[in-house]
Subunit: 276 residues, 2 copies
């Protein structure tokens, strides 16, 4: 039997900082592995860009992470998962790249939502790009063809989080406005379809009320990854149990350091890289 | 005497769409020349990025516009004017590039503010990048050393405009919050130090009241450009009187077309380009 390699890593890619939240959840669930995080902070946010541009940026990110010894990459950005994942998975087919695997965040969240809903009315809030891609309705209807899916693009929520206004009245007003339509549809389950929205989770829960179950990817993705590794030993075997934590970003601003400290309890060292 | 060339153009660069507003003002003032507009819509907004990244993106844009026969470039983006203009002006010195000129938008706005203020208390609202660069205080104090300058970064205003919420309560709340401190300082003049803020001008005027003069670059820049050409005939002589209008962007989304139609009264043809 082949020995477990020292440096087989798990890559986490996000357009910005939001994916740190998912990384934290994954590390809590699976601390023994090594992780490389890449945030494309020089070009964040992806949510309003065209499908072509999101694909091109994501392709560059995936290529970078594979070069950094990643055996498996999780695209933590919903817009990138929606606009680029399927094309990239076709380009990295197992027959050509047997040791390279790319996963998104939409399926774990969709599975969880379908498991939780009772009246089969599921709401999704996300960026414009994710909503336009129709990726959530596609995944949800595959799992539950009789479901009714209601989507709402919330273009201001990412800037609200990024500018530190997540506890302000502005956040209340924006969330209230965006959720108004979905509440009228009597949804009983709401997917937070953008990594940034995790930071607004408590506010959103308050506004939708107790009768609506809120699905957060920060919780859904780590659990699914554990079961994925149990089912795919051939991939798990290629991962080093080295507890490596590496952080890359395409722009260096203070925010990364501040969030890193907040999420991981200690300073993180971030290296700037250029994606081409 | 050398003949006027057919294709000497004026370049307008902005991180996104906001500069279309300035271009419209310039064309109204100087319709006879030819214009090339470039919006870096694949990487907008610049306001929260590091100085290094803003410089690099702006350098790529300037190089592109010079290759497109521009004799003079106006950097309509305040963040780029703040973080990159002086360095680029040094790189394109007249002795090496006699026919290439780069101008920003901060000086016209600053001159107008100094002309208008009576109590010498001037407020500036802008992106984080522009505020951190201290470019407005530097220019204003050069023109009026005894002035008191009060700056306020307004990171949510660009996303509010970009997401079409400029007429909403969210806009009122955000503007009110950002302007609160400046109003307490008893400013009598306020510079809108970001091209996007032109769209919020009426709201801002209402909130600051009649006693505060609001300086908008959309008006200050075109006037200054006319006098600049009067003083610099050697540059004006290199411009074709061809009425060319060309539009480039790094991402193609519907917004450009919609804004173009709104600003120019007819559809504009936009070509996608990659900056490197």
């Amino acid at each position: 039997m082949k020995e477990r390699p020292e440096e087989g890593l798990i890559g986490i890619f996000d357009s910005g900082f939001g994916g740190l939240n998912i990384l934290r959840g994954i590390i809590k669930e699976l601390p023994e592995y090594g992780y490389v995080y890449l945030g494309d902070t020089a070009r964040v946010p992806y949510g309003s860009r065209s499908k072509e541009v999101v694909y091109e940026f994501t392709r560059q990110a995936v290529s970078f992470l594979f070069k950094k010894n990643c055996e498996i990459i999780i695209i933590a950005c919903n817009t990138a998962s929606s606009d680029a994942l399927r094309k990239l998975q076709r380009e990295y087919l197992p027959e050509n790249h047997p040791s390279k695997k790319i996963l998104g965040v939409l399926i774990p969240a969709s599975e969880e939502a379908v498991r939780k809903t009772k009246n089969k009315k599921i709401g999704v809030i996300a960026t414009e790009g994710t909503v336009l891609s129709e990726s959530f309705p596609r995944e949800l209807l595959k799992l539950c063809p009789e479901a009714m899916i209601y989507q709402k693009a919330c273009p201001l929520l990412v800037p609200i989080v990024e500018s530190g206004e997540h506890n302000s009245k502005i956040a209340d007003l924006a969330i209230g406005k965006y959720l108004k339509e979905l509440r009228k549809k009597k949804i009983d389950t709401l997917i937070l379809g953008c990594t940034h929205y995790g930071i607004l989770e408590n506010k959103i829960r308050k506004i939708v009320g107790k009768n609506v179950k809120v699905i957060s990817e920060n919780k859904a993705v780590p659990k699914k990854l554990r079961t994925y590794f149990e089912r795919h030993k051939e991939i798990e075997n290629r991962l080093g149990k080295n507890e490596i934590r590496r952080f890359y970003s395409t722009d260096l601003t203070e925010k990364f350091q501040i969030l890193g400290k907040k999420f991981f309890g200690k300073s993180i060292k971030v290296e700037r890289v250029e994606l081409v």
